[in-house]
């Protein structure tokens, strides 16, 4: 028997309120700022889409966006294959499984600002362990506070150290779910180790890898704390990623209008890339 009433809506109400207060209202506030300009005293001037145009045309924004894409691309190119390789070489059974899993999870448990501070101290020339080793023992000039290339290498290595584990753990979960029969059939079919990887392991890992790449993309694209603590965006502007630049505009210069417009563009890019990637990766499954 079917009774029709509207009671069900009441059950959705708490979630609706929660979403409204933690997502919709803040976003709408930002939208409100992005179409107006203010010089203080709560006096606002209507600007329309002018601020968006101004941001998109500014060389400063374009440079920061370029650096952001370069950073995200670099860490994905390193972390995804490295994570898969580590997952493949991890034991599948025995006491070493839990040892490996705990070791892998450790970097992810450290708070982001601590990671930045750790690497900052570690890599400082003269006093840092790595800095001292490179400059004074090995004789290689390495100063991430002065040299942009050294700064880039340091933030990338730091991110790889911090987040490769995520790819490893997700890939590993995909790998252990493959039944033994697949490997046995591959043996009987005389498949080479590469073919086992290409036709059994990789397809079975596809779903978790999609999630891993998506998470790594979003996290690295929005990264702020670690590079800010490590390099503060320098030397010069060489490691000023989008989020660091955004904070400089919003809180440093207190340009609320342009900062709001920039936030929305930033958000739209993240959303668009994630959506494109996810749609492409799951295209075959829905056929």
């Amino acid at each position: 028997m079917k009774t029709e009433n509207q009671k069900a809506w009441f059950f959705v109400l708490p979630v609706l309120l929660l979403v409204a207060f933690n997502a919709l209202v803040p976003i709408m506030t930002v939208v409100n700022y992005s179409v107006q300009e203010t010089f203080g005293n709560n006096v606002f001037f209507w600007q329309g889409v002018d601020l968006f145009e101004q941001i998109l045309r500014s060389e400063r924004f374009q440079a920061a966006l370029g650096r952001q894409f370069l950073f995200t691309a670099s860490i994905l190119i390193i972390e995804v294959p490295l994570g898969i390789i580590i997952a493949l070489s991890m034991p599948r059974q025995g006491i070493w499984v839990s040892v490996c899993l705990v070791m892998m999870a450790l970097p992810m448990l450290i708070p982001w600002n601590v990671v930045g501070a750790m690497w900052n101290i570690f890599t400082l020339p003269e006093i840092g362990l790595l800095g001292y080793l490179m400059n004074n023992v090995l004789g290689i000039t390495y100063d991430m506070t002065q040299n942009p290339f050294a700064a880039w290498v340091t933030i990338i290595v730091m991110d790889v150290w911090h987040w490769t584990s995520l790819v490893v753990l997700l890939s590993y979960a995909g790998l252990v779910s493959i039944p033994d029969a697949y490997y046995q059939a591959a043996k009987i079919d005389a498949a080479s180790p590469w073919k086992v990887f290409r036709y059994i392991q990789l397809p079975k890992m596809k779903t978790v890898l999609t999630i891993a790449i998506l998470l790594r993309f979003m996290d690295s694209f929005n990264i702020y704390t670690e590079p800010f603590v490590l390099t503060g965006g320098g030397p010069g502007n060489s490691t000023t990623l989008l989020s660091i630049d955004l904070v400089k505009i919003a809180l440093g210069q207190f340009d609320l209008g342009p900062a709001a417009a920039m936030s929305l563009i930033y958000f739209a890019i993240t959303l668009l890339v994630s959506w494109l990637f996810y749609t492409l990766m799951t295209k075959d499954d829905r056929k």
């Binding site: 046995q184 005389a190 079975k204």
Partner: protein, 357 residues
């Protein structure tokens, strides 16, 4: 195609097996003829899958030899034994089409493309999947997936033996029957030696010319389906095969007579050996209701369609009888007649009467 000989095979999953209980397989000796259809039948955990994996080379036995056509293959890896194996769950390469799945084992062995194309067509025709060749294998139904994994084995012309490890487990009941008869037909057309592992007696009996019944790592009896049914060598076979299984009744020996609930029993032939624990075995199909005989009260009557199963209490024992037509009702007193040539004595589980010629 090959004749398969298993000689003194033993296997233990423990690194240092101490006693006989540590072995999953306890000394297996078998000879399988070229082109035969065999079934390995037994309950879960009896070692049948272990035995299969040893034949295919996925497991290395603790001791003993495996011979294909008198050639020792014990140390060869699976891909050099020229075997095909179909697993419990269909193993297919998801990202490939059906055609690529069939071609995969041939490509890995460097067969030329022209030859591969013609073999793939042949196998597709044999399995009746021609119209699915260009579909991605992951989109198939379970029974067709199982056909594809079968095809990957059959596509090789030099295949020695095709092994099936409970291949119908995930198939829907109405397709099970279809696929089973397809397997039988395949055996007749391909002519390869086939080994079928199952715990389902119907599957084993319909597929195989010869059934190997296993229990706790040992071969209990090898025989044709008829032999297993008619003259079980061990009470386990009698009980495991048949529905319901054989009646296993406690008996005692007194002055040369076999007594069951104080009735002297007539056996198929003379008793062999002495001592041990004695049991009487007779299939429910060979017990009938008569005017005279062993008296008992009907405890339960189950109508299973074509016939009824009647459970009769005689003294402290329950005896099952199968019959068609008019059956006694619950609570009735009846007289049971045991057919003499089907009444056997078992000593410590093993048969202890000689068959009358």
């Amino acid at each position: 195609m090959a004749k398969i000989t298993l000689s003194k095979l033993r296997h233990s999953y423990l690194p240092h097996p101490a006693n006989i209980q540590d072995y999953a397989l306890k000394e297996i000796d078998l000879d399988w003829q070229d082109g035969g259809a065999y079934a390995l039948l037994g309950p879960s955990g009896c070692g049948k899958s272990t035995l299969l994996n040893i034949i295919s080379g996925l497991l290395k036995p603790s001791s003993g030899r495996i011979l294909f056509n008198d050639r020792d293959v014990t140390d060869l890896p699976p891909d050099q034994r020229n075997i095909a194996q179909v697993f419990q769950f269909p193993v297919i390469y998801d990202t490939m089409t059906v055609r690529e799945n069939f071609a995969f084992p041939l490509r890995n062995r460097g067969v030329d493309e022209e030859k591969i194309a013609s073999r793939v067509e042949q196998i597709a025709a044999l399995l009746e999947v021609e119209d699915m060749l260009d579909i991605r294998a992951s989109n198939l139904s379970p029974d067709n997936k199982q056909k594809v994994s079968m095809g990957r084995g059959l596509v090789r012309e030099d295949v020695n033996v095709v092994m099936f490890d409970e291949p119908l487990t995930v198939i829907d009941p109405h397709l099970k029957w279809k696929l089973r008869s397809k397997l039988k037909e395949l055996h007749q057309r391909v002519g390869a030696t086939m080994i079928y592992v199952t715990h389902d007696q119907t599957e084993a009996l319909t597929f195989a010319d010869q059934v190997v019944v296993m229990q706790e790592g040992e071969v209990v009896q090898i025989g044709t389906p008829v032999e297993l049914f008619e003259r079980p060598q061990h009470v386990f076979v009698g009980h495991f095969i048949g529905s319901p299984g054989m009646n296993i009744l406690p008996v005692t020996l007194k002055d040369g007579d076999v007594l069951f609930e104080n009735h002297v029993m007539a056996l198929e032939g003379p008793v062999i050996g002495s001592g041990g624990q004695l049991q009487l075995g007779i299939r429910p199909e060979f017990i009938s209701f008569a005017d005279q005989g062993i008296r008992g009260q009907v405890h339960k009557v189950s109508d299973v369609g074509r016939h009824s199963i009647v459970e009769v209490v005689v003294g402290s024992s329950h005896v099952k009888a199968v019959g068609a037509g008019q059956m006694p009702a619950k609570g009735d007193w009846v007289n049971l007649a045991f057919r003499q040539d089907q009444t056997r004595l078992y000593r410590d589980g093993w048969i202890a009467t000689e068959a009358q010629a």
